[in-house]
């Protein structure tokens, strides 16, 4: 059973493409600006109409509303809700999960701790640093325990040191949870650090697939040259 399967998925921007992710596999989508990378993620998240079919495991997602998909999506702009604290941003996705308030509070606390942002739980997004905002957005995407994680240029606006730290932390976290992930980036180094496999989108077409470059250690997920 695949983690994610796309069959002839496309729209006005994206040529029909097929892509399969194994359960627990992370695939990076590389490509220049305007290639359709974010469009692909938005289609999988259910935010854009499209042709073709999307499956999560064997479950068809096509035509299913975004809020009914067991997916965690972290957009490039993060879109942390400014009127809520970091903890509030994590509480909101749990409102319709059937968990009691105590269970929600415990889940939020655990996720904040896992993403190393618990010390900023009461802060509003406007009062966080760039790295803290990324951690908060990642925690929010993870809090419902999604089966698939969609990350759009997740750490693009950070300084190199913070980026590498977050790459390592995210990779460890994702592997521990066995989570399937589709990650959009324009940075080959980021793709190699976060993903098991890389595909390239150019002018709306899927051009090549390759595995992580050998310079990246399979255990530390770090480039020997970094």
């Amino acid at each position: 059973m695949p983690g994610l399967r796309l069959e002839s998925v496309g729209n006005a921007v994206l040529a029909p493409l097929d892509l399969t992710l194994a359960p627990g596999e992370a695939v990076a989508v590389l490509g220049p600006s305007g290639a359709g990378k974010s469009t692909l993620l938005r289609i999988v998240a259910g935010l854009l109409p499209h042709r073709g079919r999307v499956f999560l495991g064997n479950e068809p997602m096509t035509g299913r509303a975004p809020h009914r998909r067991p997916i965690g999506y972290m957009s490039q702009d993060l879109h942390l809700f400014p009127h809520l604290s970091v903890a509030g941003n994590l509480h909101l996705p749990l409102l319709f999960t059937g968990l009691s308030r105590a269970e929600r509070t415990a889940r939020v606390a655990q996720t904040l701790k896992t993403c190393a942002i618990a010390h900023r739980a009461t802060r509003r997004p406007a009062h966080l640093s760039g790295g803290e905002r990324q951690r908060a957005a990642l925690a929010r995407a993870l809090v419902r325990g999604p089966r698939l994680l969609l990350l759009d240029e997740p750490f693009s606006s950070l300084d190199p040191t913070t980026r590498r730290t977050l790459w390592r932390e995210f990779d460890t976290l994702r592997r521990a949870a066995g989570m399937t992930a589709l990650i959009v980036t324009h940075d080959p180094e980021e793709a190699a650090a976060l993903a098991d496999r890389t595909v390239t989108l150019r002018a709306g077409e899927l051009h090549e697939e390759r595995t992580t470059p050998p310079c990246f250690s399979s255990t530390t997920r770090r480039c020997a040259a970094c």
């Binding site: 999506y73 957009s75 879109h79 009127h83 996705p93 929010r140 995407a141």
Partner: protein
Amino acid sequence: MRALSLLAWAPLALIVATILGALAALALHLPLATLTAALADPETHFALALSLRTSLAALLIALALGVPSAYLLARRRFPGKAVVETILDLPMVTPPLVAGIGLLFLLGRDGPIPALGREMLFAPAGVVLAQAYVATSVVTRSARAAFGAIDPGFAANAGTLGLPPFWAFLLVEVPMAGRALLSAAILGWARALGEFGATLMVAGATRFHTETLPMAIFLNIASGRTDVAIACALVLLGLAFALLLAIRLLAGERADPMTEAPDARLAA
């Protein structure tokens, strides 16, 4: 240089002085004892009570109709949208008397819905109708600007986090537009409180029946009872000042409703 600097302040000083001058002239026109008696007059009390009741009812109608309409206008594209938006703005630029005549003919004996007209015309319900007519336009326009300023990506993101569209609207977009929506409501309420022309046409000017504060000013000036007219004018001014001050005070940050956490900046 100093003369130039003084010159730059002159227009502002002139505007403020004119407003304060008019207010002071109004407030100081009557001896304090006469003013106090006029403020205690049953007619002033009736006008104040009717104004508050009708304007609040009009505000509720304006919010119920204006907020969803504003959201639709801010988020959806449809053929003829520019024409619809222009029509919605019309009540703000049309003289209220003209709007009142239109409503009178619409609901009158020869209009398409005379049955409704029998209930509303020259009755307190007509006051509500006239006030709602102008307040809805103000609320819709302000709320549309409020929703338009919010990146639709927030609602889309809320959807991917498991929030159904209605709840994403209620828990994300409405709070994000919260202060602007509250300002829209206050502006709409202020406009309803001060409505005169359309009310005169639709509800008439009958003492102790359709006598709102502006109507009381009109009736008492016309009949020479300037004391009650001035008392009503001062009450209207006081209400308008309080409403405008409320808008200014809305700048304060509120606690997070999801966690009831104290303001993070204070805690930090």
